[in-house]
Subunit: 100 residues, 2 copies
DNA sequence: ATAAAAGTTCGAAAAAAATCGAAATAGATC
DNA sequence: GATCTATTTCGATTTTTTTCGAACTTTTAT
């Protein structure tokens, strides 16, 4: 119960940072195969080590998936988790017919 | 551009804390008129001053609205903002027809 | 084998967020 | 107008997050 809440809070916290949100938006818009960490670094303009830390946070939250391709690490959005997260926020919202 | 990103990151950060997420879920499920801060306190079980801080964070993020009724403060969900936030995450997600 | 390229991990410092008691405020009631 | 109730604001402390250079790992290319 609170397990699910904590998990979702962690995911939202992962998205609650400008750099990480920019990364998520980049992989949402990016190619299905994934985007190399280096390309993401160019887009957000921060040192590699900092970027890597943010990518780890998103990964641990299951918001992105990684796969190696040669020398590159390709990051892509985990759309399923993102959907689960959004759905959670709205669960039982219409009990009184007051919203959606 | 980055203005919108920062705003949305702030909203997600507001939701990225177990207590605040619990509060949001309570007001999503709660009555349309709003829920008194005291009731929320009972539900989350923390000191009033700490709760108040979290409520302020959610308020500043426009995720909840407050209205006084007698000496109660009624908090309710701002569904419109919540929707805007969720929509933002998925914007341009289907460029490659790869998800939804 | 060596070296180069792409990223990650480590470690320490700086910045931001969370916590809670005590004091203050606003409205209702006597 | 004094007091009670609900809640916020203040202030100080603790905890967590963010940051980034330096060193390390993994894969490719020479």
């Amino acid at each position: 119960m609170t397990k699910q809440l904590d998990r979702n809070a962690a995911r939202l916290a992962a998205l609650g940072h400008p750099v990480r949100l920019a990364i998520l938006r980049a992989v949402v818009k990016g190619p299905a195969e994934g985007t190399p960490a280096g390309d993401l670094q160019t887009q957000v303009g921060i040192p590699a080590s900092t970027l890597s830390h943010h990518l780890a946070t998103l990964s641990e939250a299951d918001l992105v998936k990684v796969e190696r391709s040669g020398n590159f690490l390709l990051y892509r959005c985990d759309f399923k988790s993102l959907k689960t997260l959004c759905d959670y926020l709205w669960e039982d919202c219409c009990s009184g017919g007051k919203c959606c």
